[in-house]
Symmetry: C2
Subunit: 361 residues, 2 copies
């Protein structure tokens, strides 16, 4: 078999960190991978220079991952279609609102036997788009992987885990989970593409669970941030994290029955949840929301330097779909996070919502 | 049925915190419980006063839980046998090395239909005592609950959870898990004895798992402390916590086959693990061990004000029993924690042991 061509679609903080890994593994296995890894870069002018040119000459993403050198075999390409032409493996790592537009531009422009792997943490809920029966039943819920698959008609796996990008870029030891429905067929190759000394991969078949863990943990991190802002200690925070995990398992089981409980023990599950609830930006923003009393969008602008917090958005989408499907009362923590973010409930009321959690009955 | 008499055996930090809860619930349910709760106090002179007399007059354990008022229906009794006479429910909350001696003194002195509930986090491994066949098979492993049951011939449940004592004493919202093999029979009463507005109880039948989670998490917290001391971030710490949890599930399954994976999602499982790995004393001691290079016993003296860290001791006991039963290679994290505590391995080697963890194969 010819070596596989790999394209990274996206060049933000996480995209650049993963490019360091994929650049090294593709060089390490020339029989398996074409060592030239193309990275689609949305062109920007940074300090008077084109970002793509800086990446291709100085091998550094000076805007989103300054100070870390990218492997020289990672090549920035600013034209999306050109970056993906002939590519066998598409690594999606862009903000989730861009996925649809990107996929539509790629229709007919990639080999029909390409496969994708999504590193995007979020869901593709679209209230205006309840046309499909399966989507209607789910109250509008659609996974990012399902969106890519539906538009491009290719197989889509996911990679999620306890992976704060700056620490991955720093080569700190960590783990990640690949969810691949064709585990036997695709798992070994995908593992080789991401598995390094310091980035340890497990592959599981239960891809829906892997992906939903990645999306829903941001809601739990908001709740954890609220408890930090309210001045609670480790006991309360652990209880909130646990109840958030229980709602995650219930949510997955409700919308994608047949999930494997074991998957929640992978890096994508408890490990990512812990990392996000202690070190992530959703926690930070929600702590500040309580402490300052400012609206969420103001806090995001002040703290996140142009990035947005996924948690409040995911909480809203989840609330809309659990309400539509009549199960919102089964998810008191998810619901409370949404209402608190919207200013419809006081942060201090979070604990009251949890006191009579279905888990305690 | 006559109201049940309750005795708390122990009056340290955790014993005093739990006395605040049990004092309030027994008052709230006079049909179920005798409102006088006796608390066995090992007499000490504190600032020239007898601790038991201070507790019975000023209702404060000035040595182990200063600043928090105990309910007036909690009565300190310095004679162990007298404190337990006629008692229907014995709440064990003493350092685990005292359990055997206490139980032996109580033989024949308590009603034969009494029951106990252990809040003690540790295991009762005794290398010199491999007489029983079932214990031999387990390499000397004996649970605290088994030790109490064997000596007193009474039913023993356990209570474990994400319960740092100072926060429980502060009435912060948290959860705990009761493991009771006679859940249908004893569960409802035990839940009433501990369940309050801010201390939320779930009861499960899988008592062995509940108890082993409580003991083994201290080893994992040592590993988490080492990563903190080594300067790693949230990704690495989450990976270490996850791998520690996986070893815990494997350990339980190896020595007590038939455990329920769901139990690890209770407060006794992931929640306690998180709390302990972020806020507990084992973490703190092990971080300082790496940063200062001093021996473990010196660090304990410096940091713990007379208390000891359970983690290094449990790691040693677990190492001895996994070695005896030939399965130590299945538990690389547990083994590494023991060797690092003993100075037989450098803390920095911890990550190397995890790189080829059985979980990654």
């Amino acid at each position: 078999m010819a070596p596989k061509k790999v394209t990274i679609i996206g060049s933000g903080n996480w995209g650049s960190a993963i490019a360091r890994i994929v650049g090294s593994t593709t060089k390490a296995y020339p029989d398996l991978f074409d060592p030239e890894v193309r990275m689609w870069v949305f062109e920007e002018i940074v300090n008077g220079e084109k970002l793509s040119e800086v990446i291709n000459t100085r091998h550094e993403n000076i805007k989103y991952l300054p100070g870390k050198i990218l492997p020289t075999n990672v090549v920035a390409v600013t034209d999306l279609v050109e970056s993906c032409a002939g590519s066998n493996i598409l690594v999606f790592v862009v903000p989730h609102q861009f996925v649809k537009g990107i996929c539509e531009k790629l229709i007919g422009k990639i080999p029909s036997d390409s496969q994708a792997i999504s590193l995007i943490k979020g869901i593709a809920f679209d209230a205006a788009q309840l046309e499909g029966v399966s989507t209607q039943k789910k109250g509008g819920l659609k996974l990012i992987s399902e969106e890519i698959r539906d538009i491009l008609k290719i197989e889509v796996s996911v990679l999620m885990g306890a992976n704060l990008a700056p620490e991955v870029a720093n080569d700190n030891f960590c783990e990640a989970t690949i969810g691949s429905k064709r585990k036997a067929q695709d798992g070994p190759l995908l593992k080789k593409l991401f598995h390094t000394e310091n980035f340890r991969i497990n592959v599981v078949e239960d891809a829906h669970t892997v992906e939903l863990c990645g999306a829903l943990k941001n809601i739990v991190a908001c709740a954890a941030g609220f408890t930090d802002g309210l001045g609670y200690g480790d006991n309360t925070k652990a209880a909130v994290i646990r109840l958030g995990l229980m709602e995650t398992t219930k949510f997955v089981e409700h919308y994608y029955p047949g999930s494997n409980l074991q998957t929640f023990f992978e890096s994508c599950g408890i490990a990512d949840l812990i990392t996000t609830c202690y070190g992530g930006r959703n926690r930070k923003v929600c702590e500040a929301f309580v402490k300052t009393g400012k609206p969420m969008d103001v806090i995001e602008k002040e703290l996140l330097n142009g990035q947005s917090a996924q948690g409040p958005l995911t909480a809203e989408e989840v609330y809309l779909m659990t309400q539509k499907t009549g199960v919102d009362s089964k998810f008191p923590l998810f619901t409370a996070v949404h209402k608190i973010c919207k200013g419809e409930m006081k942060p201090a009321e979070l604990i009251d919502c949890l006191r009579n959690h279905p888990e305690h009955l």
